[in-house]
């Protein structure tokens, strides 16, 4: 608690991070500073190492280097410990618990704050933090439905809601708006804006329109390395980026 780092604003510092699978270097030499209060987008062509980077930071794959958050070395922790340290994530395909209701899904995510005694009790009423999360993600009307019947976009929002209930201060969102309608994207972007100020939000994204509209800062990855980082305007003006990513993506906007 007396660690001086806890007094600094929240800040996830990544230094010289590398991941290799059987000698193949999926990512190497990644330095990144993820700061609180801005929507940070992570873009890059397929195979650039975006998801691998997030996997490394959330304990799913082994990595070398340093990743420090609030004085804790994330690379030495297990997935559930990283969650308890305040770092949460979603997956490319929404993985909500389909048999449980929306409310139960949110409630189950609150376990990090509960004692063992609280675990053997049944839910009597909806805790306020669950109510708040439900309101933030706008799923009040379907709160008692099983999560399995939700639309694709709603499932992604539910996942974000679960991260809110967990009180994840750092959120990694993996292709959250993929497959969403234009309207749902808009709503998702606004949702992220609302929850962003007191959190560090990192979004992996392919949809350049979405990135242009909502990004505060963009990191471009290519071939397992960080190519460049900057605002949307800076990124778009960068000839290297145009070459490896935007050029191709501009031609293929139909897929977005």
């Amino acid at each position: 608690m007396n660690d001086p780092q806890t007094h600094e604003p929240d800040h996830l510092e990544i230094k010289d991070l590398a991941v290799s699978f059987d000698g193949f270097k999926a990512i190497s030499g990644v330095d990144l500073a993820l700061k609180q209060g801005r929507l940070h987008f992570l873009i890059g062509p397929n195979g650039a190492g975006k998801t691998t980077l997030v996997d490394a930071l959330t304990g799913l794959v082994k990595a070398s280097g340093h990743a420090t958050y609030r004085g804790k070395d994330l690379l030495s922790l297990k997935s559930h410990q990283i969650v308890r340290a305040g770092v949460g994530r979603t997956f490319q395909t929404a993985t909500v618990f389909e048999e449980l209701s929306v409310l139960q899904n949110l409630d189950i995510a609150g376990g990090v704050h509960r004692s063992a005694w609280g675990m053997i009790m049944a839910r009597r009423k909806v805790p306020t933090y669950v109510e708040e999360a439900l309101e933030t993600i706008g799923l009040q009307d379907v709160s008692r439905r099983p999560a399995g019947v939700l639309a694709h976009g709603q499932k992604q929002w539910l996942e974000i809601g679960m991260l809110l209930v967990q009180d994840a201060k750092v959120m990694f969102l993996d292709e959250t708006v993929a497959g969403m309608s234009a309207e749902e994207r808009e709503e998702t972007g606004e949702l992220l804006r609302r929850i962003c100020p007191d959190r560090t939000i990192v979004v992996i994204e392919h949809d350049m329109d979405f990135v242009r509209t909502f990004a505060d800062i963009v990191t471009v990855m290519h071939g397992g390395k960080v190519l460049t980082e900057g605002t949307v305007a800076e990124i778009q003006a960068n000839p290297q980026v145009q070459e490896v990513y935007l050029g191709r993506s501009a031609e293929g906007t139909a897929h977005a």
Binding site: T58, G59, K78, S79, H80, V83, R84, G88, R89, F91, T95, F97, E98, E99, L100, Q104, D107, I108, A109, G111, V112, R114, G118, M119, I120, M121, A122, R123, R144, M162, Q166
Partner: protein
């Protein structure tokens, strides 16, 4: 569906437990002969173990093929106490005179105490399950590998019991038991009392499980069963969740085993073998592993089926039992009790259909 109906539905299982309690505690003791009631008591012991299997397997997704191990630990703990009771104070069980040195081994001595025995029935299987569960689930061993491991341990336990005849009575086990905590086992009044204790334990286990299923732990357990990796990202170590369910299941199997001994009047390695373990799990599958009452009812039905079929067709009864499993697993994979909510739903649907028709 409105909230009040939902809240009411949540208590449905309690009605089921009440009906079962009425049957076991009021109807059966009045209607059955002492011999039949004693048999029903044995099925209740399988049912107690079955409730635990329902928790670990049905809700937790751990295929516990070796619950005979824990059933056996409880049974032998109880058997040792009753054997010492039968031998009398300061005396040594008969088989030790025949096969052993005639001196009571030091680890047998504490089982003279009834309180120690009762504590051992709960604590020993809990510790074994804890160590085993941590070793297995922390290493993310699951599915068939876990099933094979648990079955292998049961086989090893059975072999150990047979080989250590000096301490365990070997193949014959612990027999010629005469009293249960001072009560004569041959007195019909005492027999009835032991049956009632067992039936009450079964009801209490069902109530505990009811609470576990509606608790947050129950929700996390299902979540772990369905998406273990996702649970990690809720901040839980799924291994710990599974270990808790596994330990509770082990304690229940042990209590079932312990109560089995005074009713059978003996305990031997066959009663706790791999085959006995499979019979336990078969009952649970038949009744409906993920439901609250299914495992208990399934275990009672299989127990009854075993006895009555083996009386009528001593040679062919196993075929009947096998055929029954094939039919149930093919046509009602979620077990016999899963039919009831389905029928209820169908009935409700018809009712609303009729209402809609009337509204038009």
């Amino acid at each position: 569906m409105n909230a009040r109906v939902m809240a009411f539905k949540a208590y449905f299982p309690l009605i089921g437990i009440a009906i079962l309690a009425l049957f076991l505690l009021v109807i059966a003791p009045g209607a059955l002969s002492s011999f039949r009631l004693n048999n029903l008591g044995k099925y209740c012991c399988y049912a107690i173990a079955g409730v635990g299997i329902g928790l670990a397997w049905g809700r937790g997704g751990m295929l516990v093929l070796g619950q005979g191990l824990f059933f056996g630990l409880g049974a032998y703990a109880m058997g040792m106490h009753l054997k010492l009771e039968a031998a009398g104070p300061d005396a040594v069980p008969d088989f030790m005179m025949n096969f052993g040195s005639g001196v009571l081994p030091a680890w047998w001595a504490p089982f003279r105490s009834g309180a120690f025995t009762i504590a051992a029935i709960v604590v020993i299987p809990a510790l074994v399950a804890l160590v085993l569960g941590l070793a297995v689930f922390k290493r993310r061993i699951k599915g068939a590998y876990f099933a094979i491991l648990s079955q292998a341990l049961t086989v090893a336990f059975g072999a150990l019991l047979v080989s250590q005849i000096k301490y365990t009575g070997g193949q014959t086990g612990l027999n010629s038991l005469s009293t249960f905590f001072g009560y004569n086992l041959y007195d019909p009044v005492n027999k009835k009392m032991i049956y009632m204790i067992t039936a009450v334990i079964l009801i209490v286990m069902l109530l505990i499980t009811f609470q576990l299923y509606r608790s947050r732990f129950g929700e996390v357990l299902i979540a772990t069963r369905d998406q273990e990796e996702r649970v990690r990202f809720l901040g839980y170590d799924p291994a710990n969740i599974k270990v808790v369910a596994f330990v509770i299941a082990a304690i229940m199997a042990s209590i079932g085993g312990a109560m089995f001994v005074p009713m059978a009047g003996l305990i031997n390695p066959r009663e706790v073998s791999a085959l006995a373990s499979i019979m336990l799990i078969a009952g649970v599958a038949l009744g409906g592993r993920a439901t609250l009452l299914g495992p208990a009812i399934g275990a009672l039905v299989v127990g009854y089926g075993r006895t009555s079929l083996s009386e009528a067709y001593p040679d062919q009864w196993t075929y009947f039992l096998g055929a029954m499993f094939i039919i149930v697993i093919l046509f009602i994979p979620n077990g016999l009790t899963s039919v009831i909510p389905k029928a209820w739903q169908a009935l409700n649907r018809r009712r609303t259909d009729i209402k809609e028709v009337e509204a038009v």
